[in-house]
Amino acid sequence: MRSDGSQPAPLGLKIAAACGLLFLHLPILLIFVYAFTTEEKSFVWPPPGLTTQWFAVTWNRPDVWEALSLSVRVAAISTAIALVLGTLCAAAVSRTKFFGREAISLLVILPIALPGIITGIALRSAFSLADIPFSFWTIVLGHATFCVVVVYNNAVARFRRTSGSMIEASMDLGADGFQTFRHVVLPNIATALLAGGMLAFALSFDEVIVTTFTAGQQQTVPIWMLEELIRPRQRPVTNVVAMVVVLVTLLPILFAYYLTRDGDQIAGSGK
């Protein structure tokens, strides 16, 4: 299809594509616009006036800072856990053969395939059964279940593309296990891990369902937003936070996208 790219697409198709894209992205733009509206009780279109006062208001609200800080900490720790466990699991599944290997790789992927609500309920009942009070760590635990999957998927794909005899070659040349990991394994999977880690971070940052079941009274950013929608005052504050969240999650995802694309080229040229 790419060979006849010089031929322009029919006008109807172009309009349909434009409409599809607008439908996807216009609501996000609306959020940005409402961040500057002067009307604080409800969202009115068109905005009666424009102001930047909500940025200052948001800056001075301690609950926003608490939610943001909790979300960032949870995402960071969950991602760190996922990076270690996901990489180890991917290495085991792709490097060795053992009984139940296929079952394990399915079980690892399951948390992301299952509806979040199942994971949430399951964790909540497990916590209450074990008498574990809700805390920062219960949220982290919940998020780690799906963060591991993202890292695992990225790492396993990269491991499959790297030659197994490279590790043996490194050992053969005098490198012990740690040196081999540092000088051969890590450089070859680094971009995959970075991409997986960023996706994991972004997923954790906007997760609602599992968090609802594992957070107790704590508020991460998405949960704080849901609560905020019920309150009648200072509505645009939510929009300001939403803008920040979009930026915080979008930039790493774009970066990860470029990294993995780059990684493909490097791996391909090695063949």
């Binding site: 005899s165 040229s269 090695g270």
Partner: protein, 332 residues
């Protein structure tokens, strides 16, 4: 004299599969040693046992007199050229070659100098800045060779070193490996399934089958005096003659082998010999291979190109010198 590599009753079993089964082996220092055999015959496992990627199930291995069991690959003064070369794609050629020195914490300037020298040795000077992905198959193999040699191993292991190269390149590399080995005086152990490669390069050849060594000897020994039917057939496709047939010509009831090039094919009624019928001809360039049927026994003869050939289906008489009929040790 201490052997470079010595196997005593070494076995390596994978579950019920005896990949290597009670192998005894002594490789002399400075020897160019070939392990020849079909795939799955245990030759590669033997190589991996020397490298340390496999541990023997039983038996003992020593490398220059030192026990090798339990010693990890990175503590052995042995280096390997891998079949797929296993170059590191994220490093350039120079850093690939210098890798072994880098992990031994040799300074940057010194290891790069040594790597440059190793690259000159394999006739790739000035290729250091390139990435492995930018090299041809033959060049990658030279880099793999330089990367192993830069560590000055006592034993160099080569796993099907020429398998992935095309014919012309393979012939060049054969000569080059041979002269490199002579110049460096390092013990080379290489694994191959190509009997021509083994015969042309090695000082001694071990023929493997089913995890056992069938015969060890010089290329001439292996080719002219195979000890078993398997060796006769695998190395150079010799004619394996059944005991009854051999008894008629040598008086002994033993399995015999007769090289195809030592059979002379004459017209019928031209005198004494084995009566046969020509059933097929294969033109091979310098020679022609004839398929013959001697009263149910399938034989092959190789005659120089240009010989006047009987027509297919014609009756012929086969003659050969008594001394070219080799009696094998294998029990009847």
């Amino acid at each position: 004299m201490t052997s470079a590599v010595s196997f005593q009753k070494v076995s390596r079993h994978f579950g019920s599969v005896r990949a290597v089964d009670a192998v005894d082996l002594d490789i002399a220092p400075g020897e160019f040693f070939a392990m020849l055999g079909p795939s799955g015959s245990g030759k590669t496992t033997c190589l991996r046992l020397i490298a340390g990627f496999e541990q023997p199930t039983s038996g003992s291995i020593s490398i220059f007199g030192e026990r090798a069991e339990g010693v990890p690959p990175y503590r052995r003064n042995v280096n390997t050229v891998f079949q797929d070369y296993a170059l590191f794609p994220h490093l350039n050629v120079l850093d690939n070659v210098a890798y072994g020195l880098m992990v031994k914490r040799v300074g940057k300037a010194e290891r790069h100098k040594a790597a440059e020298e190793a690259l000159s040795l394999v006739r790739l000077p000035g290729y250091g800045a390139r990435r492995p992905g930018q090299l041809s198959g033959g060049q990658r193999q030279r880099v793999a060779l330089a990367r192993a040699l830069v560590n000055q191993p006592k034993v160099l292991l080569l796993d099907e070193p020429l398998g992935a190269l095309d014919l012309k390149l393979r012939e060049n590399m054969q000569e080059e490996l041979k002269s490199l080995q002579k110049a460096l005086g390092i013990t080379f152990v290489f694994v191959t399934h190509d009997q021509g490669e083994a015969l042309s390069m090695a000082d001694r050849v071990a023929v493997f089958n089913d995890g056992r060594i069938m015969q060890i000897g010089t290329p001439e020994d292996i080719y002219q005096r195979p000890s078993t039917r398997f060796v006769a057939d695998f190395v150079g496709s010799s004619n394996v003659l059944p005991p009854d047939f051999v008894q008629r010509y040598s008086g002994q009831r033993r399995w015999g082998s007769l090289r195809p090039e030592s059979i002379r094919v004459g017209r019928a009624a031209s005198g004494e010999g084995v009566a046969a019928r020509l059933v097929g001809t294969n033109y091979l360039g310098a020679t022609t291979r004839l398929a013959l049927d001697a009263d149910g026994l399938r034989l092959h003869a190789i005659v120089p190109a240009g010989t006047k050939l009987p027509a297919e289906g014609e009756a012929v008489v086969l003659t050969f010198n008594r001394e070219s009929l080799h009696l094998m040790d294998e029990a009847v």
